[in-house]
């Protein structure tokens, strides 16, 4: 195969190629070295573990695609988790509590979008402020204490399975399919990528930039809220310190999955695969008894390596 053919091949590779390849290699290696890796229990464990970070990553991806960012998702998940727990512990039923909490999440997203789209403040700054503000609200609403005394049924969802698949994982799959459809098969999706590639050009073409910004940030906050509710279901308590630094995990998952922080590029499959890769690494590190400090180093190096390979491919695509 000569260089031209190789180049052509690289151009056809989808953006998720590297993350999927790495994950598959890691799975094969772990199956060979860790005796308990490929067991029904462990796979089911990992499915539960990946779901919440996967859902948050899908949301953050939507903001990254329009060349934005959402650093507030971890705090929003904690804030909304505390809200739903407070409502539940005060005797409001599950439907009302969850409904009101999701509304709060949509409101948070609208505020972020207004800051970015109407006031013109950089997304990094708006959502960095949000990271502080919503963590503060989480502490205020909980009084700095763990919120307990929730109805026992709250646990049932996250512990349950459907056809052998954990409900949490099914939830992530449903979210992934809906957002994937939105991004890949609708006009809204095309607009989002267009804004991320060149916001000014998109505006001149008559694309409603603010409405699209609103959609991206509401999706991000809304999914972070959903993740917060699921976290409460998993833990059967809400603590104002939960979901700490989840925004970084989510951004890392999206970027390792081929999203570009400059916008216009990234897929749901990539973000989910990124989340699976990190969950697998965490699981593998415990099973192989890798020193926890080395685990952090390895994870960081992996992010750098995957993004480097991905950038090489991008350069080839643009003919450099």
């Amino acid at each position: 195969m000569n260089n031209d053919n190789l180049g052509a091949l690289f151009q056809r590779l989808p953006v998720e190629t590297y993350v999927v390849t790495f994950t598959v290699i890691l799975w094969i290696m772990l199956s060979a070295t860790a005796p308990n890796f490929m067991t029904v229990d462990n796979i089911s464990n990992m499915m539960r573990q990946v779901s919440i970070s996967g859902i948050i990553a899908i949301g953050v991806l939507c903001t990254i695609i329009i060349a934005g960012i959402d650093l507030s998702v971890g705090s929003v998940a904690a804030f909304c988790g505390v809200i739903v727990a407070q409502l539940l512990s005060h005797g409001y039923g599950i439907p009302i509590s969850v409904g009101l909490t999701l509304l709060a999440g949509v409101l948070v997203g609208s505020i972020n979008a207004a800051g970015v789209g109407k006031l013109g403040i950089p997304a990094f700054v708006v959502t960095l402020a949000g990271l502080q503000v919503y963590r503060g609200f989480a502490l205020l609403v909980s009084g700095g204490m763990t919120v307990g005394g929730l109805p026992p049924q709250i646990k049932d969802f996250s512990r349950g399975t459907l056809l052998g698949i954990p409900n949490l994982f099914t939830t992530m799959l449903v979210v992934a399919i809906i957002v994937h459809y939105l991004l890949s098969y609708t006009r809204t999706g095309r607009y989002l990528y267009a804004i991320g590639s060149n916001s000014e050009a998109a505006r001149r073409q008559g694309i409603p930039v603010f409405r699209m910004t609103l959609i991206a940030y509401v999706l991000s906050s809304g999914l972070a809220t959903l993740a917060g509710i699921l976290l409460v279901s998993r833990l059967s308590i809400a603590s104002p310190s939960m979901a700490n630094a989840y925004e970084l995990q989510a951004i890392a998952a999206a970027v390792v999955g081929g999203a570009s922080l400059f916008g216009g590029r990234g897929t749901v499959l990539g973000a989910v695969a990124g989340a699976i890769l990190f969950t697998t690494m965490g699981n593998g590190a415990v099973l192989l008894n890798i020193d926890p400090f080395w685990e952090m180093v390895l994870e960081g190096l992996l992010i750098a390596l995957v993004v480097y390979l991905d950038n090489l491919q991008k350069k080839r695509q643009s003919g450099l």
Binding site: N36, G144, T146, G148, S239, S241, M242, A245, L287
Partner: protein, 327 residues
């Protein structure tokens, strides 16, 4: 738990000596590490209780989260207002040493609580012996294993909430030393989390995947205890695995009740706030205090959690201070 009796008794004597009305305008500043945590809120509650009994005004200060530079600014600001005494829990040992010494030099007595500072210029230091706490966890785990299997043998592991925190490292050291005293207990793993419940939960599940024959896990703070307890409860392993965790927040108490946590190691943050203020008041009136005071730890299981000696440690609203019993 019982070592504090001497403290409470001396404090009671002081209270009688000084009389609450005599110094009604005194203010004592209480500076904690992180105002947003349940633990430090309990310290404030203890300080308030002592303030009420002494008739002094308590100023509750601190940074929202661990922030040494911020805490130094808070300390300097508080000292500028010339309170009768300052009670402080230094965020970082090295960083707060000189600022604490400077306040002492300015003539304001400083009572240190919970964690130390790199100086000997303070009036008194009230703290939990974390190494003893870790050892108590190992002993509670051993008696649980014995209770269930008839012998103290098998694989055990522990979860560290965060890397590089002096109090957590001391607990872990105490636990490791404690386990070493039982020749048939084998320490097979240690994971470090990001002080986040869900991570504690995942690590517990993964550790059980690696060693399905684990008989005991030690979780070294409230977040890890809640996470590990949730994982054990989800797997319904409460009657097989002996989980022992530090502190007693709502999540942990829930799992103590449902049997997923065998024992919690409780400290006495209320007494740190209460005793801190009392000692600050005493020092402000020229009383020489013992340099080091251990506020004690206790191992609480489902069986003894409602005993009078522990009820106030588990739930601060049930706390009744009697100067003659310490609880």
């Amino acid at each position: 738990m019982f070592r504090k009796i001497t403290l409470a008794a001396s404090v009671a004597a002081l209270a009688l000596m000084a009389g609450p009305q005599a110094h009604a305008q005194d203010t004592i500043a209480v500076i904690v590490k992180a105002t947003t945590s349940e633990y430090w809120q309990t310290v404030f509650k203890g300080a308030e209780a002592a303030g009420k009994e002494l008739g002094v005004k308590i100023e509750e200060l601190g940074t929202p989260k661990d922030d040494a530079a911020g805490q130094i600014a808070v300390l300097e600001g508080a000292a500028g207002k010339k309170p009768a005494a300052i009670v402080i829990s230094p965020t970082i040992f090295e960083a707060l040493g000189d600022p604490v010494a400077a306040v002492t030099k300015a003539g304001i007595p400083v009572i240190i609580i919970d964690s130390g500072a790199k100086t000997d210029k303070f009036a008194s230091f009230l703290t939990t012996d974390n190494v003893a706490g870790g050892k108590a966890a190992a002993d509670a785990m051993a008696s649980c294993i014995k209770e269930r299997t008839g012998k103290v043998a098998g694989k055990v592991a522990f979860i560290t909430a965060m890397a590089g925190h002096e109090s957590l490292d001391s607990r872990d050291k105490g636990f490791k030393d404690g386990v070493a005293a039982y020749p048939d207990l084998k320490l097979v793993g240690n994971r470090v989390a990001n002080n986040e419940e869900a991570e504690g939960m995942s690590l517990t599940a993964d550790m059980l995947t690696k060693d399905s024959d684990l008989v005991g896990i030690f979780a070294d703070n409230a977040q890890m205890g809640t996470g590990a307890g949730t994982s054990i409860s989800e797997k319904k392993l409460g009657d097989k695995l002996c989980l022992v965790a530090f502190d007693a927040d709502k999540g942990e108490v829930e799992h103590l009740n449902d049997g997923s946590i065998y024992a919690v190691i409780v400290q006495d943050p209320f007494m740190m706030g209460y005793g801190g203020v009392f000692n600050g008041f005493a020092a402000a009136h020229g009383v020489r205090l013992p340099k080091n005071i251990d506020t004690g730890v206790g191992a609480v299981t489902k069986k003894n959690m409602n005993d009078a000696a522990f009820a106030g440690l588990m739930d601060v609203t049930k706390r009744k201070m009697s100067p003659y019993t310490g609880n």
